[in-house]
Amino acid sequence: MEAALSGPPEWLERMVLFAIPPAAREGVAGDLWETYQNPGQYAVEALQTVPFVVWSQIRRNLNLPALILQSALIFLCFGGPVTLMALPLLMLREAYRPVTRPSPRRAIREAILLSCGAMVLLLLIMSVHSPFHVRAGVDSFTWLSLFLAALFLSPFLCLFRAGLIMQGDRSRTLTAGGLPKDALAGAYHNFQQRAFCSNLLESMALVFAAACGFFFAWDALLVALFIIVALCLMLDSVPRFSQACDFTSLRARYQQELARQGQLRRFLHWLWFAPVLVALHDRLTLGESIAALLNCVAAAILCFLVAALNREHGGRVQEQIGLLDRMRETSPPDRA
């Protein structure tokens, strides 16, 4: 292929880069640059290519069980029309999932924004309904405790995000650069062992939670879902050791397993919080408007926590896949 002498205008390239899903950006944007002739040709080529790439990334990243669970929760809380509007957005979000973990600054900013939002909402409600009057079961003491809780929410959420970031840094298993094949095989083997153990433990925890749910009169559908997922997880948790293969194939298998386990974890995070969200929803339908609003805030904070967990974990998985993408095979160190 002949080298392109000049590239596309910066503004056009930025637009195209924005439209290409992050996971495919490096390869696709580079290919478009390499075949650049003029801005028109570049734009047409990008317009013809991007929809295929977006669709392909949706197909690749779509976590159907998680999507069904999220849609069911949205349907439960907001009804059919909102679910129908949210579905394409949820699917598009899958295509544009970032390939790195969110930066600590962004993570902390999100936490502060959410807690500020919660406080503003509380202040608004308090200004409408005076806290010094007992109203429909919400007395002044409750108002005060809620306001203090909102005040402490910001440092709590920041600490939560910081904890996730630190845990992500600690659990980093791969480093950039080269690796001998045996070392890669060892890393893959360790990863499979860890995944096996955590899946087995989580499946047992799910069975235990389902048993508790049975006694605490959870929704029968939720109890059944917990048991089915636990069984699937037990069946799935048998480690699949790789047969003899070269470095490139081993790397591809490691990436596929990383992505698979990442998807599984994403679904499980939502599943663990589903009973609490369902309980909050049940309280929404019972209570009066103020209690309903407070429950909405609680649900939003809960969703934030799950999303933060997923963003950190998903980002870490994508980061490892990216590291593997650029990893070269090196010869093993000489032991003599």
């Binding site: 290919d31 013809q48 993408d325």
Partner: protein, 113 residues
């Protein structure tokens, strides 16, 4: 064993033919050459490459960034053992088809172009 669609066969053949130089631009050019006179959208090639990678028929990795690509890397592709096997099976089926058609259309009077 994984059975391949026609477009998948073409893309796999292109990767096989390009050997170490198989990445988006070259694969697309080869696919267009193989499916001449049909025009093929590059996006369709990417989507097929992704699908075949998920089926573990091919594997990919990123090269070092280069200047002629605006400082970006190439995503290289390579056939995996299962991909080779599936492609060989498709070639055998195609061979049987050619033989049957040739026989039915009267020996050497017809030749696939």
């Amino acid at each position: 064993m994984e059975s391949l669609g026609q477009f998948e066969q073409i893309v796999l053949t292109a990767i096989l033919a390009l050997d170490d130089n198989a990445y988006g631009v070259t694969i697309h050019a080869k696919v267009e050459e193989l499916s001449h006179p049909k025009k093929i959208a590059r996006g369709a090639v990417y989507a097929t490459l992704d699908r075949m990678e998920d089926k573990a028929l091919i594997s990919s990795w990123l090269s070092e960034p280069t200047r002629e690509r605006g400082g970006r890397s190439r995503r290289h592709y390579r056939l995996e053992k299962s991909g080779e096997k599936a492609l060989k099976e498709s070639a055998r089926t195609a061979q049987r088809l050619i033989e049957t058609i040739t026989r039915s259309l009267g020996g050497l009077a017809w030749k696939p172009r």
